[in-house]
Amino acid sequence: MTLAFDTPALLWLLPLAALPILASLLATSAYPSLAATPDDAFSTVTGWTLRLAGILAIAALIVGLAGPHSREQSVLRTGRGAHIALLIDRSSSMDNTFAGKQPSGADESKASAARRILASFVKKRPHDEIGVALFSTSPILALPLTLQRDAIEAAVNAIGRPGLAYTNIGLGLAMALSLFEDRDDDAPRTVLVVSDGAALIDRRVQQSLRTSFRQYRLHLYWLFLRTTGSPGIFPRPGEAGENSPQAMPERHLHKFFSELGIPYRVFEAENADAVEEAIAEIGRLEASPIRYEERVPRRDFRPAAFGAAAGAVLLLLLAKLSETRLAGRRP
């Protein structure tokens, strides 16, 4: 712990604390000569105690006025969690419900379900550094990795607002990965993709994503918010249709993710409860030991200094009240 002062210049007043050595608070009485009085231990101790009380009172007041405090600092602690990049689909289809309709009454949109559930997820994970990347036609970085909880909640809350245009997940993934750039700590890194659809990823983008995913040693989760009636990730019996990346981009994105050679899991959720379960499962999986910084707030020592001064002044007041005069003499 380091001691610091708000206005250290005031400490130049400290020589004033020598005043009680030079002057006394007590009444002086003229006396012909003290040479005749014997040395008296009690008087000596009392005299110096009162001088010390005076010194202490003045010094403590000056130190207190200078504003003594310990600086705010951060302590490295170990907890459980991960560094998480949230990659959230902000295409306009997220504004619809899981049934693919305009939200009305009790039905909430996919975006607002995601917002609500992610907000409570973030609240439960105080040690995670979390960043938020968004994608629609273009990738948008909403928040770099941070521990500042208010900022994370504000960024997550903003995803409840109306979305933009299309789904360009490839550039979004690249943006999410870029959150881990210039971070060389060994904390586990996680990308959580929340989307209600997928799209073709450009071949060149695919190639660079493969390299980056391996380089960053990521865990990847894809929370697919499936709209009723749309093709899912896994083939269903009796389902017709062409199995091409254009016709079934979700299935092919899943294939791409599975072949990356990194820990990957997909959750297909068709309602808000399923989303909640998936998020809870991800929360359980992402609990490796990580180091995080905890802030130790600034501590103020001013009240302690003023308290000491008050005690010393009280002692001086008592001494002053118990003063008597030598009979028949005036100062």
């Binding site: 005043l19 030079l22 040479a35 007041l61 036609t137 001013r302 003023f306 002044v313 002053k320």
Partner: protein
């Protein structure tokens, strides 16, 4: 019998000092009202904001980089307890990146977001600034915030002649500032290929110089090759200076007067912070201030006064100090 100390001024000085100290210990803080601001900063990230007609540290910089730099510094000048949200503008609307957060506690996060802003985040190339501004005002209203709209004012495509009649300023509860970005001399706008690489500048033939929305302008009939049905805008495509960009202050000032927002040209972080705090509505917040220093300072002064001997006592003291130097064994 009363203690003799009651007839001694030093006792009363000491007592007053003790009472001041008691006040300093018992009433350390009082609530003060201080202004704070609730701001949504909307940043234009359309193509013309890439024009390099600004300077940072003596080096040429794009308008967007200049906005990022000055905004980061200006936000740091807002009083604590102020809240800031960040949004992007392109096309017709503003896109919210984050709801308002307290600026002092979360400055690193806000600063990081601003530092990473990029024109590549734009989801559309168009720049309908008037529509974007009224959308931004609606957004600001919904957040109960005041607006800071940073743009160069260049509409792409250019607005129709009668845009003012069609402009809907929105509900207008929010106040705020339009900050005009860019130089006054028309400069070329950098052009990028689809992968984001810079490939020279926009040419005169690359951009529309006139909109075909909202009916032909009044002078169309006098144009060459005009035909009411086949060529209502004239036969030749209009040539103009839309491929060059300068800050469109006149346009922004008109928008400002229609929406009740102030206008200022972006020149420095200090200027931006000052203009913003003048234009936005201050919201008083209660802050606790430590006022214990006042009674404590008084206590110190009284205590020192109690120790300082009065003139007769001082004379006696000096005499005794003088004798102390000549003789030993003096007691006080």
């Amino acid at each position: 019998m009363t203690p003799p100390a009651l007839h001694d001024a030093r006792f009363w000085l000491l007592l007053a000092s003790g009472l001041c100290l008691a006040v300093a210990l018992l009433v350390p803080t009082i609530g003060l009202r201080r202004p704070s601001f609730n701001i949504i900063a909307v940043i234009d990230i359309t193509g013309s904001m890439n024009t390099r007609d600004q300077a940072i540290g003596g080096k040429p910089a794009s308008r967007l980089d200049f906005v990022k730099q000055t905004l980061r510094q200006a936000l740091a000048m807002l009083p604590c307890q102020s809240h800031v949200a960040v949004a992007l503008f392109t096309e017709r609307r503003s896109f919210l990146l984050s709801e308002p957060v307290e600026i002092c506690e979360n400055f690193a996060a806000i600063d990081g977001t601003l530092a990473r802003l990029d024109w590549r985040m734009a989801w559309e190339g168009d720049s309908y600034i008037a529509s974007g501004l009224s959308h931004a005002l609606t957004l600001a209203d919904s957040l109960d915030a005041d607006l800071l709209f940073l743009t160069d004012g260049q509409e792409a495509p250019p607005p129709p002649e009668n845009w003012e009649e069609r402009f809907e300023p929105g509900s207008g509860r929010s106040k705020g500032l339009i900050a005009g970005v860019g130089g006054y001399v028309p400069s070329p706008i950098p052009k990028f290929d689809p992968t984001g690489r810079e490939v020279g500048f926009y040419n005169v033939d690359d951009v529309p110089h006139e909109t075909r929305v909202g009916g032909p302008p009044k002078d169309a009939e006098s144009r060459e090759g005009w035909h009411p049905r086949n060529a209502p805008y004239g036969a030749a495509a209009r040539q103009g200076n839309e491929h060059l960009s300068s800050v469109r202050e006149d346009h922004l000032k008109v928008l400002g007067s229609k929406t009740g927002l102030a206008y200022a040209h972006l020149e420095s972080a200090e200027g931006l912070a000052e203009a913003l705090m003048t234009a936005a509505v201050p919201r008083p917040v209660r802050v606790l201030r430590d006022i214990s220093a006042l009674p404590a300072a008084l206590a110190l002064a009284l205590l020192i006064a109690a120790y300082l001997p009065g003139p007769p006592a001082l004379a006696a003291r000096l005499r005794s100090l003088a004798s102390l130097t000549s003789r030993k064994g003096i007691k006080t």
